[in-house]
């Protein structure tokens, strides 16, 4: 099988970036984001991007870096609360924004990878989200039709991966990464640990290599924590 390993993020993305393209980026908040690939996209200076990602990072990390560099024209997200620059750009008309309910966003991306052009969901019926979309009654209940989402490129972050592109995610850093890996025309993955083929448990591969075009082991991962919340060592449980 062809070795999909690349030396670094820049090499993994070489020839895959162009102005006006649509990029899907995995992660929830700053958890499970492809931080090296995002940095390489910033360095590439590619622009007029449509970015599909649940959030948009923070001002100085994650997708916030692309926002700060003025590379993003349009975002499709479910929540962008933690980003001041985002608010400024949006309110000044420099950034287009499409909000999707988080589950609808996840399912639209799954549909994009699964050859399903549209599906129906109860989510958003009777809200702004359903405006201009078909509403249809099944068995006495109204549903809204949602369309699939796909992208020119998806960038995902996994815990472990191999040269075939098989990926395993860790804890809640999985989030949007598996679906996005399936919905990009090209998928580039960054991993914390690149392991030998055969080292991953075949029963527990979250993303089969068929979806991954290039894979790169990140150097030092920052893995920044957005809301460090703890309980007192001697105290009682806070959650």
């Amino acid at each position: 099988m062809a070795d999909k390993t690349r030396k670094d993020a820049a090499e993994a993305l070489a020839g895959r970036l162009f102005d006006g393209m649509t990029i899907m980026a995995g992660g929830f908040g700053l958890c499970g984001i492809p931080e090296h690939l995002i940095a390489a996209i910033r360095d590439s200076a590619v622009k007029d991007l449509t970015v599909i990602s649940n959030n948009c990072g923070v001002d100085d990390f994650g997708l916030g870096l692309l926002l700060g560099a003025g590379q993003i024209r349009r975002m499709i997200s479910s929540y962008v609360g933690e980003n001041k620059l985002f608010a400024e750009l949006y309110l000044s008309g420099k950034l287009e924004l499409e909000f999707n309910p988080q589950g609808t966003l996840a399912e639209r991306i799954r549909a994009g990878g699964a050859g399903i052009p549209a599906f129906f969901t109860r989510t958003g019926v009777g809200t702004l989200v359903a405006e201009g979309k078909e509403i249809r009654n099944f068995d006495g209940e109204d549903y809204v039709m949602e369309r699939a989402l796909s992208a020119d490129l998806s960038i995902v972050k996994a815990w472990k991966g191999d040269a075939e592109g098989n990926l395993i995610y860790r804890k809640t850093a999985r989030n949007f990464n598996p679906m996005m890996a399936t919905a990009g025309k090209v998928c580039v993955a960054e991993v914390e640990q690149l392991v030998a083929i055969g080292d991953l448990d075949r029963d527990n591969i979250h993303t089969p290599g068929i979806y991954v075009d290039s894979i790169v082991q990140g150097a030092a991962f920052e893995k920044r924590i957005e809301q460090r919340t703890t309980r007192p060592v001697a105290g009682k449980a806070a959650v």
């Binding site: 988080q102 009777g126 809640t172 999985r174 309980r231």
Partner: protein
């Protein structure tokens, strides 16, 4: 004396049942976890992809790969499991979560809920709220009874953009508990906070309600 935040959480916790799978929103709903009765088994779902959410970690034990939907660091439990966002919302949308407890800006007598957007203000996004109210079997709202301006939040009809239509089952505020029942029955006041009078509730509530204390 109206209920404080912890009282409201305790009141909402009365909705928990043994074996329930529950999703708790940010803010007061998070406090409900502190009021799970001893011996009762309740599994907390976090919509970013986890069942069996544990308490916050001890200092120094935070894991950047382990956060809840509010992006706070959390811990896992022996029976926890992780899954993708698509699988998480398949679980929510498919009606597998027994109870969702979340905050609101407005709840209407017909069960409509608004909690994500104020026109003219910067919108942060609905996150998973629309999916939760559309998919979870029972939806309990915990909210302040009035806005800071004094405007009522339990209203005849929501003036704010909706999060979901006819989705609220129960409302807990600092003044009392209201059965809304997704608008299938008239709103009923079923509990009053200590020393709160019916007149005060009537004065501060726009929605009509029956009294069933």
């Amino acid at each position: 004396m109206a209920w404080n935040r912890d009282d409201m959480a305790a009141r909402a916790a009365l909705e928990l049942r043994d074996g329930f799978y529950v999703n708790l929103g940010i803010g007061i709903p998070t406090l409900v976890a502190n009021h799970i009765p001893a011996g009762m088994s309740v599994t907390l779902q976090s919509e970013n992809g986890m069942l069996g959410m544990g308490p916050f970690p001890f200092e120094g034990e935070e894991d950047a790969d382990l956060i809840n939907a509010g992006k706070q660091t959390i811990t896992e439990l022996p029976a926890s499991s992780y899954f993708s966002s698509a699988d998480s919302f398949a679980m929510i949308r498919g009606g597998h979560i027994d109870l969702s407890i979340l905050g609101a800006m407005q709840v209407a007598a017909n069960g409509d809920l608004a909690n994500w957007m104020v026109p003219g203000k910067m919108v942060k996004g609905m996150g998973g709220a629309m999916d939760l109210v559309a998919g979870v079997k029972r939806v309990v709202v915990v909210m302040e009874h009035s806005e800071k301006s004094g405007a009522p939040k339990l209203v005849k009809a929501c003036s704010l953009p909706l999060t979901g239509q006819k989705v609220v089952d129960l409302v807990v505020t600092e003044l009392g508990v209201f059965e809304v029942n997704r608008g299938r029955t008239p709103v009923r006041l079923t509990a009053l906070a200590p020393d709160v009078t019916l007149d005060e509730v009537r004065a501060r509530t726009e929605a009509e309600f029956e009294v069933a204390l």
